[in-house]
């Protein structure tokens, strides 16, 4: 009996302790790992320390794809988080879910729960990427990157190249020199993202019909019929055969590793890649991605926003959304924006963050951070700042599936690109049926 009583007392005291500490919990799922994941945890910690009503609990679910799949599965099971990080390729799917009541748009949330950060406080390019057809911002901009060119300045100095190439023509002219010195001239980590989607944006070309999906649900991609795109891949294949370009499979890291180890002169990766390189590679610079002078006639155009946004999911209590609103406000503050920009290399997404960076002369101290804003901030594009195409994760897979046999010589460039178009058209049609 004594035992029973003591167990009872123990249980009751547990119940009280957990009760007295209870804060409103807000679950935030994300798809970054390693260093970028650590920064996310740090952001949540800082928010949790800044107030004691709410507690943000970040949970890493693996990659972007993993997190999106986990979020969807959780939603279908009625167990979704409040806030989830979904990447660029999933944006069309998430925006389409507002009408089904899965996603709460940022502006609706801001109105209802009084978020002090206005949608107009975010940079227009980034805001539009995550907005619906009427221009209402749905996703909350978070880690926004774009593809950049990293250059190993030691190698360039060694072979006597003074200027980093601005165009692919310039790159082509110096590649043989680099190869002769025993280095790989060029590597890149993501064929669909860097050399497909952002090839189109960088050259101010439409990628799908329906104005990249902004005016109408797209039915096809314009890969094979875009002359410049055929030309680009013909050149890439030629470079691959000559050894100017080295392909190391689909894994991001396998393509980055030779550059980080000082074996390659140029590497195309994400603006957020430099964190892992700083301190490992002694002398590198970040530069805008090259373009074909012959295609744009010397003009430069901005690339699409890459990375991810956070999306507010429906189905929770008012109290919890109030907390989430506070958290969104916290993350949208100039200080946090600049902190994240500085730590990761992702672009500053708020006007306040950019102003703050300028007032403290941030870019003079850290020139690495400048290229991403410069490239995204270019003007003069006549195409939309993104694409609204469903089933895009699978279309990326189709692109990969055709790049390899093309480089291998099993199929011609024209055949590979028309295969991509065919595969994409089928997937787009499939997606259109679910709308």
């Amino acid at each position: 009996m004594k035992k029973l009583i003591s167990i009872f007392i123990l249980l009751v005291s547990f119940a009280f302790t957990s009760n007295s500490y209870s804060k409103t919990e807000i679950h935030w799922w994300y798809g970054n790992s390693g260093f970028l994941g650590d920064v996310i945890i740090e952001i949540a910690n800082r928010f949790n320390e800044s107030q004691d009503e709410y507690m943000v609990i970040p949970t890493g679910k693996g990659s972007y794809e993993d997190n999106m799949a986990a979020t969807i599965a959780a939603f279908r099971a009625g167990d979704q988080p409040h806030y989830s990080q979904v990447y660029d390729a999933g944006a069309a799917i998430m925006v389409a879910q507002v009408k089904n009541g899965v996603v709460i748009g940022f502006e609706e949330m801001a109105e209802k729960y009084g978020i002090d950060v206005d949608a107009d406080n975010y940079i227009p390019g980034i805001k539009n990427f995550y907005a619906d057809g009427d221009g209402k911002m749905i996703g909350v901009p978070f880690n926004s990157s774009t593809c950049l060119m990293y250059a190993n300045m030691d190698i360039l100095n060694e072979v006597g190249i003074e200027e980093v190439p601005k165009t692919y023509e310039e790159f082509e002219g110096m590649a043989q020199k680099i190869l002769d010195a025993g280095y790989i001239p060029l590597l890149q980590s993501h064929s669909p993202w860097i050399w497909t989607e952002n090839f189109f944006s960088r050259h101010n070309l439409l990628m799908t019909d329906g104005n990249n999906g902004y005016d109408a649900v797209p039915t096809k991609t314009l890969f094979a019929e875009t002359e410049a795109f055929v030309y680009h891949w013909t050149k890439v294949k030629e470079w691959y055969e000559k050894g100017y370009y080295g392909y190391k499979g689909r894994a991001w890291g396998d393509n980055q590793a030779p550059f980080t180890n000082g074996e390659a002169a140029f590497w195309f990766g994400s603006a957020a890649s430099f964190g892992g390189m700083k301190g490992v590679l002694p002398n590198f610079t970040t530069n805008p991605i090259p373009y074909w002078d012959s295609v744009t006639g010397g003009k430069e155009y901005p690339t699409f926003i890459g990375g991810a946004a956070n999306w507010i999911l429906n189905g929770h209590t008012e109290e919890e959304y109030k907390g989430l609103a506070k958290f969104i406000e916290f993350m949208g503050s100039p200080e946090m924006d600049l902190y994240y920009h500085n730590m990761t290399g992702y672009a500053a997404v708020t006007k306040g963050g950019i102003e703050l960076a300028e007032t403290i002369n941030f870019y003079r101290a850290s020139p690495y951070h400048k290229a991403v804003g410069d490239q995204l901030g270019l003007e003069g594009s006549t195409i939309p700042g993104g694409y609204r195409a469903g089933n895009w994760p699978q279309i990326r897979e189709v692109i990969y599936e055709n790049v390899e046999p093309m480089l291998n010589g099993d199929i011609t460039v024209e055949k590979a690109l028309s295969n991509m178009d065919k595969g994409a058209a089928k997937l787009l049609k499939q997606f259109a049926k679910t709308l």
């Binding site: 794809e65 799917i93 089904n100 392909y247 089933n391 699978q394 291998n408 295969n419 499939q430 049926k433």
Partner: protein
């Protein structure tokens, strides 16, 4: 025949209930759900669901990479079955002859069986890494190995990764089979025939047929379904979609591509394929096997 009669008409259901419940929840319900997915068109979150007839099936049949996956799965399961079966048998026969330290050999040979496929894949990844992979360097010196774009090289990569662990399973069952053969049969055969090899093929191997048949089914099932983790941690289906198994393709389309209709249709196709293979095996192969 004596009939055993229960007094109550319901008690048998009571005893069956737990097992039936498990079957219902973990087997029948998912199967029904898969059928539902395969015949509907819906978005990732399950909205806009509408009856699609055979559209999802037509969709996968018009997809060239589905046939590539089909071809690879057949090749893969055939090669894996052959390699793991023959090496497993060879090791079992040799280990069966060992006099001293028998259990040490056995234990060491059985160990890899306990390793999860995903871990095997990560280990293979290391061996085939371009930067520090032993096997990569060996093959590269022999013929210029490059699995990133060469289909044959990618096959070698996933076949070695997939076989290694399964050899252990084959080894255990063959060893058990060998030890179950009666000593008297072996001794009698020694008197009749001097040649070790001939004795093996005419006496021992036929007596191992039930084990072999069992292992063929197990190995095919393994290559079909359990190699998922290995593919995901090694080639992720590259180059092209040449090393995607049917299961891996269904996973990619369903969970990464978020197209449940297509993934459901692929699951049903897989069910049909396995059904056909199993019927074929039991109809035509099992008839030729003599159990004791």
């Amino acid at each position: 025949m004596k009939k055993v009669q229960f007094k109550s008409n319901y008690s048998q259901y009571f005893f069956l209930a737990p097992q039936l419940l498990i079957l219902l929840i973990f087997l029948y319900w998912p199967i029904i759900q898969t059928f539902k997915d395969a015949f509907t068109m819906q978005d990732a979150f399950g909205f806009g669901s509408q009856f699609a007839g055979f559209d999802n099936f037509l969709f996968i049949f018009s997809d060239p990479s589905y046939f590539t996956a089909f071809k690879f799965t057949i090749i893969y399961s055939f090669v894996i079955t052959l390699i793991t079966g023959s090496i497993g048998l060879l090791l079992a026969v040799q280990a069966n002859k060992v006099m001293h330290g028998k259990s040490a050999y056995k234990t060491l040979l059985i160990w890899p069986y306990a390793i999860a496929p995903a871990v095997v894949g990560v280990m293979a990844n290391y061996f085939f890494s371009e930067r520090y992979g032993l096997l990569h360097h060996l093959f590269n010196n022999l013929w210029g190995f490059n699995w990133y774009e060469n289909v044959f090289d990618a096959y070698i990569y996933v076949i070695i990764a997939g076989s290694w662990k399964q050899i252990s399973a084959n080894f255990i069952f063959f060893l058990a089979g060998l030890q179950a053969i009666q000593k008297t049969v072996i001794e009698a055969s020694i008197i009749d025939c001097k040649s070790n090899i001939r004795r093996f093929w005419t006496i021992t191997f036929p007596l191992l047929m039930p084990t072999t048949f069992f292992l063929i089914i197990i190995n095919i099932t393994y290559a079909f379904f359990d190699t998922f983790g290995i593919i995901d941690t090694t080639t992720i289906g590259a180059p092209g979609s040449e090393t995607k198994t049917l299961v891996y393709k269904a996973y990619i389309d369903g969970f990464k591509g978020l197209d449940l209709g297509s993934a459901g249709a692929q699951s049903i196709m897989m069910m049909i394929i396995v059904l056909v293979i199993t019927i074929f095996q039991f109809r035509y192969i099992e008839g030729k096997i003599h159990y004791n």
